[in-house]
């Protein structure tokens, strides 16, 4: 090996691959090999955690890139993975590369114990997909894939990063609406003559928002009910004792 920088980087990449970590992916129900994090990735995660308002969204954006970069089984399409796979991957990479101990207030938890329990958490259709019918509207709901979650989060971050701190009402409203549209797959408008279905995958974020803003409040409540059910499911992957681990950039600060 020569002392050339690109050669050295290749060697480091090989080293990162050979010291890879086994990560259980809940949606696939199997273990997949990942490269460990490198210092740049950790630094990017920590930097993103500085802006507290948008920390969750920036984490979703950054961590998507890390998953794409670090997954070693290239036969797996990262875009087919789900949002609840993210905490499983984050906890495994944190435990393997940085520290398997995690403290919440005065209690210290072993992340390896949590990782061992993950395969036994049942992944069923019920909290992951649903159809809601209200009046002449049918809304198809689904837990977002990682790319959908990332794309909408990125739009939200770009929109909101310059918003003023005192504009908190706007901020909360924007975060709320962007969160809702992540879970909508399609909306069908039923008329007496025919049904018209709008596939959200083909819409721009602002068009999705424009449609959701016209939803009757009863429909919005049903969507929120679904999201809450999903969040309860997702929380099983981060539950330690009576607490839950907050998975964002600060989780990688040790």
């Amino acid at each position: 090996m020569s002392g050339n920088v690109s050669d050295i980087l290749k060697q480091l990449d090989t080293l990162n691959q050979t010291t890879g970590v086994d990560v259980f992916i809940p949606s696939l129900g199997k273990t997949v090999k990942f490269k460990n994090l490198n210092l740049r990735q950790q630094k990017d995660l920590l930097k993103a955690s500085v802006d507290e308002t948008l920390t969750k969204l920036t984490f979703i954006v950054n961590f998507y890139s890390i998953i794409q970069e670090n997954i070693l089984d290239k036969t797996i399409n990262v875009n087919s993975l789900y949002a609840f796979d993210r905490p499983a991957i984050a906890i495994a990479l944190r435990a393997s590369g940085l520290d398997s101990k995690y403290a919440i207030e005065e209690n210290v938890y072993d992340l390896n114990t949590l990782l061992e329990q993950m395969p036994s958490i049942p992944v069923q259709t019920q909290p992951l997909k649903s159809i809601v019918d209200i009046q002449n509207l049918t809304v198809s709901l689904s837990v977002p894939n990682l790319n959908t979650d990332r794309d909408i989060s990125l739009v939200a971050v770009n929109k909101l990063k310059n918003s003023q701190e005192n504009d908190i009402k706007t901020l909360v409203g924007e975060l709320f609406i962007h969160e809702i549209i992540k879970f909508i797959q399609s909306v069908t408008f039923k008329t007496e003559t025919d049904d018209q279905t709008v596939d959200f995958a083909n819409l721009k974020v602002d068009d999705k928002i424009a449609i959701v803003e016209k939803f009757p409040s009863t429909l919005t409540s049903k969507v929120l009910e679904f999201i809450k059910g999903y969040r309860d499911f997702e929380a099983k992957f981060t539950a330690v004792g009576d607490a839950n681990i907050e998975i964002d950039g600060s989780f990688f600060s040790v």
């Binding site: 050295i8 480091l12 080293l15 460990n36 210092l39 630094k43 393997s96």
Partner: protein, 293 residues
């Protein structure tokens, strides 16, 4: 002809080094920088000073910060003054009091630390292919408590038996975080070992508690560079007053002023003061011996 040199033992390097004198003009430049109060520039100035005053040590910039501190304090003690006069504000009563610190006592304390070898040199490895050699930081000033701290303790990196240390800036961020875990442990060990060492400590005469006012030897809290600034700080105007006085009153050539140490210039000033005192005494005696009218 070799200039006058003095020596000091460095525990990190495990050897004695020769030091040249700090000349008045160089000290004035240092004080200008301290007055300007940019810690990065001050730390850089100290490194340049060490390079120039210890010409037999080509690797002096890589010496540990404790070794550098020992040399700088020795320079302070020999070339400026052996004691440091401090005015301290009592944290309880806010009253001020004066105290003196003998610089040599700080140097002695640093000599007596008896740090174990693994503080100076520790190697961490990954998969038998990446070896990172760690050691005490060389820099006198660490401002950020982030990942850049990690870079300050990395002395050498071997990847697949090749030394890649010179490429550290390009490869640093690509290092696996697993190695960071070991580096962090070293930094914690290093910090823990030095946490109770004080460069200076005293108790306020006004306070009823025995709580110490102290300057810890903590590189990560800026206390080292702050302590050095205190040791070398002086009113900038006083340099111009000294120059004015020595040139106008004592007719000393500016070349001599520039190349003398501050301590030597003090000797000239003290000679002048003594001479004046003698003259005043003689004058008083003459007046006393005058016959009354």
């Amino acid at each position: 002809m070799r200039q006058f040199v003095y020596t000091v033992y460095l525990p990190g390097e495990k050897k004695t080094v020769y030091i040249k004198e700090l000349q008045f003009n160089r000290y004035k430049q240092l004080v200008k920088n301290i007055t300007n109060d940019n810690d990065n520039i001050i730390a850089e100035f100290f490194d340049d000073l060490l390079t120039d005053l210890c010409p037999d040590e080509p690797n002096i910039r890589q010496f540990t910060f404790i070794d550098k501190l020992i040399i700088l304090l020795t320079i302070r003690s020999v070339c400026i003054a052996p004691t440091l006069e401090l005015t301290i504000t009592c944290p309880v009563t806010q009253k001020q009091f004066n105290t003196n610190l003998t610089i040599q006592s700080v140097v002695d304390k640093l000599h007596d630390l008896n740090l174990s070898d693994d503080i100076y040199n520790k190697t961490v490895s990954l998969n038998d292919s990446l070896f990172v050699n760690l050691g005490m930081p060389s820099t006198l000033n660490i401002q950020q408590r982030d990942l850049s701290i990690v870079g300050t303790v990395i002395k050498n990196i071997q990847l697949n038996s090749i030394d890649v240390t010179k490429n550290i800036d390009q490869i640093f961020e690509q290092l696996p975080v697993t190695i960071l875990k070991d580096i962090r442990s070293y930094i914690e060990y290093f910090t823990e070992t030095l946490k109770d060492v004080n460069l200076f400590s005293t108790v306020s005469p006004f306070s009823t508690t025995q709580d110490q006012i102290r300057v810890p030897l903590n590189l990560f809290s800026n206390s080292v560079i702050e302590f050095l600034k205190i040791c070398f700080k002086r009113n900038l105007l006083s340099f111009y007053e000294i120059e004015y006085f020595l040139i106008n009153k004592l007719n000393i050539d500016y070349e001599l002023i520039k190349t003398s140490t501050p301590a030597e210039l003090n000797i000239y000033i003290n000679f002048y003061k003594d001479e004046k005192k003698e003259e005043e005494k003689a004058e008083q005696k003459k007046n006393l011996n005058l016959p009354a009218r």
